[in-house]
């Protein structure tokens, strides 16, 4: 793999729009994290009073770019410059950018559930004199803002009493209270139903007509086509191109091509599939959101996997892939779960993690540090954590056996550590992932669900992980691989299920798996939904 170094040359041609008709210009922004170049020489310009959409695959750099813009990554941690309203700006934090009139609304809403709407709107920006809250002003100004965003709720309603759609409007009212000039919305409709989405999009349009510029990040291409004036596509941390949605006849296909158009080189080890009989089948699996219990996060999903087969789950952020995996792994996510899990012809639907492990199912989480490892413990204890009964007798752990097993995995999986006594927290991401894989391989599972197995690890270690996955498949294990990187799924999987909004929207065999093809299924928002009422189009 030859990657170009972090420092790319100064922007040659670039977007050289006249300063006068841009409200925001970000010039050759480069942002690196240890080992990863997240943004490479990205330039973007936003005109006053437009809705500017940014789209790209997961990991293309959209959120990073917005964090640079809003000061979450302060000036000095990136290269390049930001020009806002004609002047170069250096934000040291979110307060700085807010002060200039830039407000960002994140995917996960940042409202305090036990405060009222009015209190939330003015949180950190209180209507007060000498530290004493002026409730009259707070509530009357809040009421005006609510009217502006079209929310018919009293300002003293508690946040936990209103739905996500309305909460999203409160977020916008909060931004308006800060006299926002540029509103950034990160996946604003991801958690909303059709009606709320339509309302929100209408509101963004009406705010634009009142002169508020908006940047909207969205995976939903139909929404972008509907409201965006211009659209910038990012891919692998680089600007691909900016479409003028009025001047050209832009289609979803055009956007998809720009988002995924990338050559596939030899990044994946070869494997000749040797696929046996079916091992695991999931039937009509439905999972509800743990808090918004009426919302279906997984909706009637059915799929199967065979011995020696690597099956991919493709889906955009929030499509419900992890939720599907965790809910079937002993109900570790969601409420009101229904459906059946059939393993080797028997119904094994696991009620606890213990059940799942005994049934021969393993789940390696997407978030190693939060859910996968005890970072305080050493390698050997982490490897044995899910199968202590294999290295113990009468409840007494055989430390020797444990160390032997861990050493074997250290050699087999090439975990780079001087000994198995090394604390997991001191390992690199790739080696931590190998410890997690060791833990689950040691349970002797027949089905391994690997959730983003290569997230946040470097290219060399990725190849090693792929090799491990292939050798597991060759040994007759069934692998379900969840990944946000389409090339990875296409390079590794024998079959890929596409998931969108909790539903399985497509099943694509290896031969037909192209990024365009998958992306089409993955963005199949509400098209296939016949049971939902749909009046917005």
């Amino acid at each position: 793999m030859s990657e170009s170094p972090a420092h790319s040359g100064a922007s040659g041609g670039g977007a050289a729009t006249a300063v006068a008709d841009t409200i925001l210009e970000m010039r050759s922004i480069t942002k690196t994290f240890p080992g990863v170049v997240a943004l490479k020489d990205v330039s973007i310009d936003v005109r006053p009073g437009e809705i500017h959409a940014i789209c790209g695959e997961n990991g293309a750099g959209k959120s990073t770019l917005m964090k640079v813009l809003s000061g979450v990554y302060p000036h000095g941690t990136y290269e390049g410059e930001i020009i806002f309203e004609g002047k170069p700006v250096e934000f040291r934090g979110i307060r700085d950018s807010e002060h200039h009139g830039i407000a960002i609304i994140h995917q996960e809403l940042a409202l305090s559930p036990y405060l009222s709407i009015a209190e939330n709107i003015f949180l950190g920006n209180e209507r007060a004199s000498r530290g004493i809250i002026d409730w009259g002003r707070t509530n009357s100004e809040a009421a005006k803002l609510l009217e502006k965003v079209g929310l018919a709720e009293s300002p003293d309603t508690m946040i936990y009493d209103i739905g996500v759609g309305k909460q999203q409007l409160v977020e916008i009212a909060k931004a308006l209270a800060k006299r926002v000039k540029l509103l950034i919305l990160d996946e604003p409709t991801a958690a909303l139903n059709d009606e709320d989405s339509a309302n929100l999009l209408r509101l963004i349009q009406s705010l634009r007509d009142q002169g508020i510029t908006a940047i909207i990040i969205s995976h939903k291409l139909n929404e972008i086509l509907r409201i965006a004036d211009r659209t910038t596509v990012l891919r692998d941390g680089q600007t691909i191109r900016t479409f003028d949605m009025h001047a050209e006849q832009v289609t979803e296909e055009d956007l998809i091509k720009a988002m995924v158009g990338r050559s596939m080189d030899h990044r994946f080890p070869e494997r000749t599939p040797n696929i046996g009989e079916e091992v695991l089948r999931i039937e009509d699996w439905t999972v509800h959101h743990p808090i918004q219990q009426e919302r279906k996060v997984v909706d009637g999903a059915s799929l199967y996997v065979r011995r020696g087969e690597v099956v991919g789950l493709a889906g955009l952020m929030g499509a419900g892939r992890t939720e599907l995996a965790m809910s079937l792994f002993g109900r570790t996510y969601g409420t009101n779960i229904s459906g059946r899990v059939i393993k080797d012809g028997k119904d094994v639907t696991p009620a606890t993690v213990g059940d799942a492990i005994r049934a021969g199912i393993a789940y390696a989480t997407e978030d190693r540090k939060r859910y996968g490892l005890n970072l305080l413990a050493d390698i050997k204890r982490n490897v044995a954590a899910a199968s202590l009964e294999k290295v113990s007798k009468y409840g007494v752990v055989d430390g020797g056996a444990e160390a032997r097993v861990a050493s074997r995995f250290r050699d087999d999986l090439n975990i780079k550590a001087p000994s198995v006594d090394v604390t997991a927290g001191n390992l690199s991401g790739g080696n931590q992932q190998k410890v997690v894989l060791s833990k689950w391989i040691f349970t002797d599972a027949d089905v391994l669900i690997l959730d983003e197995p290569t997230r946040g690890i470097d290219v060399g270690a990725k190849y090693e992980i792929y090799t491990i996955i292939n050798s597991l498949a060759n040994a007759g294990k069934a692998i379900i691989m969840i990944s946000s990187e389409l090339p990875e799924l296409i390079g590794m999987c024998d079959r890929i299920y596409a998931i969108s909004e909790g539903r399985v929207t497509g099943e694509v065999p290896r031969e037909q798996a192209t990024q365009e093809n998958l992306m089409r299924y993955m963005t199949m928002a509400d098209k296939g939904a016949s049971d939902d009422k749909d009046v917005t189009r």
Partner: protein, 392 residues
């Protein structure tokens, strides 16, 4: 620093506490003009602080798992009441009353474990409730005091192991034998552990380090038993109880599946759940266990006082918690050792005794102990930050 670290195999923190204990002992030995280490003072240091060590052994498991138990002081008083009633009013023999007390301890633990594990109330709240409940029950049972027990019961905390081997140079031979046995056991266990590491081709500490370490501990234990052998009674019975508990619980925490799962839960609860640890049952067991140990402490405390007192065990929970944190237990769970908290308890005990011998006002004693607790935990946090480990 690196060589020091290599020599002691990365367990510097553990040795650091032992070092702190040594410094404090020497300091008070000087300040009290040699009174601190008089044989009878050493014996009563152990007798007076046995309860802290017993409670701290249970508490460290609770804290490693990420909980806290505020009720142990009240449970001590409640168990005292149970023992006293059974012996005085029901006429039970003392050993039967003690057994019954242990059963009551298990029941108390099961009660609190139920609320924590199966109802899901934070342990802080459950044991705060327990603190009130069992204090109240103790008053109901005891009134103010119930005194006058059989000598057999009083001997648990005040008596010594019978000297059936006579004296050498005016030193109790039984105590010296105990000391020799402990040194031998220590050497054997260290050598076996080393051999096991070798067998599995794991990292072993250099021979010199092992020899230095063993020699150091042999001298310490030898000196300690020599001093103790000169005390009025020799080996206090309660020292035997505490010693057995230390060995048993070191084994439980380090070598059993139960112990492993306690550390796993404290280190990363989510990861433990996703690894199939039955966290509910574990939480239940953890509280049953500390209930049992609190009842042992209750028996020891009642025996020491020779009476059941309604306000016995007041603030004992704080002594136990302080011993845990001084002994290197992580405030965030996941880290801690039985040996560490025993040293922590001894540090508190030596402070108590030394300051008392010096006739320092109890109010100032309290201030000093509070500062020691702060410094110990601050030292721990700074140490971690410097070593670059993630501090949550």
């Amino acid at each position: 620093m690196t060589t020091l670290k290599e020599t002691f195999g990365g367990n510097l923190r553990q040795y650091g506490i032992v070092g702190a204990l040594a410094v404090i002992v020497l300091l008070f030995q000087v300040l009290t003009e040699g009174k601190l280490l008089l044989p009878n003072n050493v014996a009563s240091l152990i007798q007076q602080n046995a309860y802290v060590m017993i409670l701290a052994i249970g508490m460290v498991i609770v804290i490693i798992a990420g909980h806290i138990d505020l009720s142990v002081g009240s449970v001590v008083a409640f168990i005292g009441g149970v023992v006293a009633i059974l012996m005085k009013h029901e006429g039970w023999p003392w050993w039967a009353a003690v057994l019954a007390a242990l059963v009551f301890g298990l029941l108390v633990g099961a009660w609190q474990g139920f609320w924590v594990a199966y109802v899901g109330i934070p342990a802080f709240i459950v044991t705060l409730g327990g603190m009130l409940i069992f204090r109240g029950l103790a008053i109901v049972l005891v009134g103010v005091t119930l005194a006058g027990f059989e000598p057999g019961f009083v001997a648990i905390s005040n008596g010594s192991v019978t000297n059936f081997l006579g004296y050498i140079a005016n030193r109790d031979v039984v105590t010296l034998t105990f000391g020799a046995l402990v040194i031998a056991a220590l050497i054997v266990s260290q050598l076996r552990a080393r051999a096991a590491l070798r067998r599995h081709e794991l990292h072993v500490e250099p021979v010199t380090a092992l020899v230095v370490k063993l020699a150091l501990f042999a001298v310490l234990i030898g000196y300690f038993s020599w001093v103790l052998a000169g005390s009025r009674g020799g080996t206090p019975i309660v020292l035997v109880i505490v010693g057995v508990l230390i060995v048993v619980y070191s084994f439980i925490t380090q070598r059993t599946v139960f112990g492993r799962n306690v550390y796993a839960m404290g280190g990363n609860l989510q990861a433990a759940i996703l690894s199939g640890v039955n966290t509910k049952r574990m939480n239940f067991m953890i509280f049953v266990n500390i209930g049992l140990l609190a009842s042992v402490a209750g028996v020891v405390t009642t025996s020491k006082a020779g009476a059941a007192v309604a306000n016995a065990g007041n603030m004992y929970e704080l002594d136990a918690i302080a011993a845990c944190f001084i002994g290197g237990t992580s405030v965030y769970g996941g880290i801690g050792r039985v040996s560490g908290v025993i040293v922590g308890a001894l540090i508190m005990g030596v402070l108590n005794m030394g300051l008392s011998i010096m006739r320092v006002d109890p109010a100032w004693q309290s201030v000093i102990k509070g500062l020691v607790l702060l410094v110990a935990v601050a030292f721990d946090l700074i140490n971690k930050r410097r070593s670059g480990a993630t501090v949550r």
